[in-house]
């Protein structure tokens, strides 16, 4: 299934000087002509927005987006997939963890446009319909959270931790889950949840 996402044009009150300079450098005649006709906004859009196609939870999204948008902001602010959380926004907390082409990454430290052609799975894409993913069920069973803010990132990271083969014992789990911080301190229960899923031996 393919969706065309027409990103709404952000309203610009003025054109930043830098855009105009870039515009002049790129296509001098056209840009100057356009600027004369007060088409500043359209030039800025044309230069700034980059075509990009990303498959998110099985749905292909084809967009033209501002290159400054991180994958995290694309998910939350444009596509309204707010399960993925913004904690620190600097790659220190792991709340924004998603899978890109099957690998866990911090979605706050990658530009959306850098993920062109890739497949992204977020916490919303983990469950099978209304049936919870075994890791989600294990987190509930073991009380692997208190406030819950870090939980989507913890769960995405935990699933990858097992798939990577780094969940053989408590020490290894703690080491390979260290990129996910829990301010409530639910670590023992998170480790227990991961160990149970690992021992269950299911192909997750």
């Amino acid at each position: 299934m393919e969706k065309e996402n027409a990103t709404p044009n952000p309203r610009r009150d003025f054109l930043k000087k830098s855009s105009l300079i870039t515009a002049v450098a790129l296509t001098p005649t056209a840009a100057i002509k356009a600027a004369d006709n007060q088409l500043d906004e359209r030039i800025a859009q044309a230069i700034e927005n980059v075509p990009c196609s990303i498959e998110i939870n099985g749905t292909k999204h084809t967009m033209k987006i501002d290159p400054r948008i991180t994958l995290l902001d694309l998910l939350r602010e444009r596509l309204h997939l707010t399960g993925t959380k913004k904690g620190c926004d600097y790659g220190q907390c792991g709340a924004c963890t998603v899978h890109v082409d099957g690998q866990r990454v911090n979605s706050c430290l990658t530009l959306a446009v850098m993920n062109d052609g890739k497949k992204v799975t977020t916490i919303e894409g983990l469950a099978n319909g209304s049936e919870l993913h075994p890791m989600q069920a294990a987190f509930i069973k073991h009380d692997g959270f208190q406030c819950g803010y870090c939980t989507p990132g913890q769960i995405m990271s935990a699933v990858a931790c097992i798939r990577e083969g780094h969940a053989d014992n408590e020490g290894e789990i703690r080491e390979f889950m260290s990129g996910n911080i829990c301010r409530c301190g639910a670590y023992p229960n998170i480790v227990a949840a991961i160990q149970e899923v690992k021992k269950g031996g299911k192909n997750i």
Partner: protein, 325 residues
């Protein structure tokens, strides 16, 4: 984040041409350090040249040595069977760095180029010669617990934060680069520089040069250990780290390789200490002597004075673990 132009390169030639055209252009691969710095306005490139689609991900054995493409991920390198078996120092150092998520994003070339984590470099409200040349060094008389004890100058006492670099310098690696003037090979020993009076320059790489690969010659090291001492068990930068590699014939040290991280503006190879170990029998005394030699010329700046003791102890401990005595 400040506005920039984004260019997705499909060939090495196009990437180098795209970076050459714009004075304030930067390559981006994993982006884990650069985007962090751009969000904080520490770095404000006007053009980003995305090199992720270039075919630079190969890891292959070459003349018993190793060729690692610049875009190979830190996690891929750390898990690579040949590297785990023949170059365990590199695998251990990589796994000691960052988090699983970041290692899945960060590339070998990006790791070489990562900037210091000096808090004043990150804080745009304070002077920093590395961020804004000529403004002064806030760390010199500031909170300098994480800072250098070797090779620092009043201009900058920041350290190189990489674990990978420490292993690569111990393994005599080289960096292959390509630029508008052609290709060249830079020895790891020469790649990163001391701050001198130009701390804004971390490496000798020219602005328009692209790292294409890292090569490591065949290793004869039979006993290896990467020891990282930090404030928490995982996911923290090194206070001090040591890469120790030995070629042992029974108890006799045929070859020794030692390098430290967290102590200087570049990965710090301990050549004199290595030489002192050569031909000696494995013993705590020999290790302590090597550590004493390694520490000659070390200087604390107040908050980091503890490193003057921690560093030699870490050298001895790394050698003990490597040699299993």
């Amino acid at each position: 984040m400040k506005q920039f132009q984004y260019i997705r390169s499909v060939s090495q030639k196009a990437a180098i041409s795209a970076i050459t055209q714009e004075p304030k252009a930067k390559f981006v691969a994993g982006g884990t350090n650069l985007l962090d710095l751009m969000k904080r306005h520490v770095m404000t490139p006007e053009r980003l040249v995305d090199i992720n689609k270039l075919p630079l991900r190969d890891i292959k054995e070459e003349n018993k040595g190793l060729h690692i493409g610049a875009l190979a991920l830190n996690s891929t390198v750390a898990e690579h069977a040949t590297i785990v078996k023949k170059f365990p120092l590199l695998a251990e150092a990589l796994n000691a760095g960052a988090s699983a998520q970041l290692r899945n994003m960060a590339t070998v070339g990006g790791n070489l180029m990562q900037r210091t984590r000096c808090p004043y470099f990150y804080d745009t409200t304070t002077p920093c010669n590395k961020r804004e040349p000529g403004t002064g060094c806030s760390a010199l008389n500031g909170f300098n617990r994480m800072h250098a004890i070797f090779g620092a100058t009043p201009h900058c006492i920041a350290v190189n934060p990489s674990d990978m670099n420490v292993a690569l310098i111990a393994l005599d690696a080289s960096v292959q680069v390509s630029g508008p003037k052609g290709d060249r090979i830079i020895k790891m020993q020469d790649f990163h520089r001391l701050p001198g009076d130009q701390p804004e320059k971390d490496t000798i790489l020219d602005k328009n040069e692209l790292i294409t690969a890292v090569t490591i010659p065949a290793s004869t090291l039979t006993h290896n250990h990467y020891l990282k001492v930090r404030d928490r068990n995982s996911y923290a930068f090194a206070l001090v780290s040591v890469a120790a590699g030995l070629n042992l014939d029974g108890k006799t040290i045929k070859v020794a390789r030692l390098a430290m991280g967290g102590v200087a503006h570049k990965p710090w190879r301990l050549t004199a200490a290595e030489q002192s170990l050569q031909g000696k029998q494995v013993s705590i005394e020999a290790f302590q002597q090597a550590a004493d030699i390694a520490m000659q010329g070390a200087k604390g700046y107040g908050h980091n004075d503890f490193k003057l003791k921690l560093a030699p102890n870490t050298i001895v401990e790394a050698l003990k673990i490597a040699s299993r005595i």
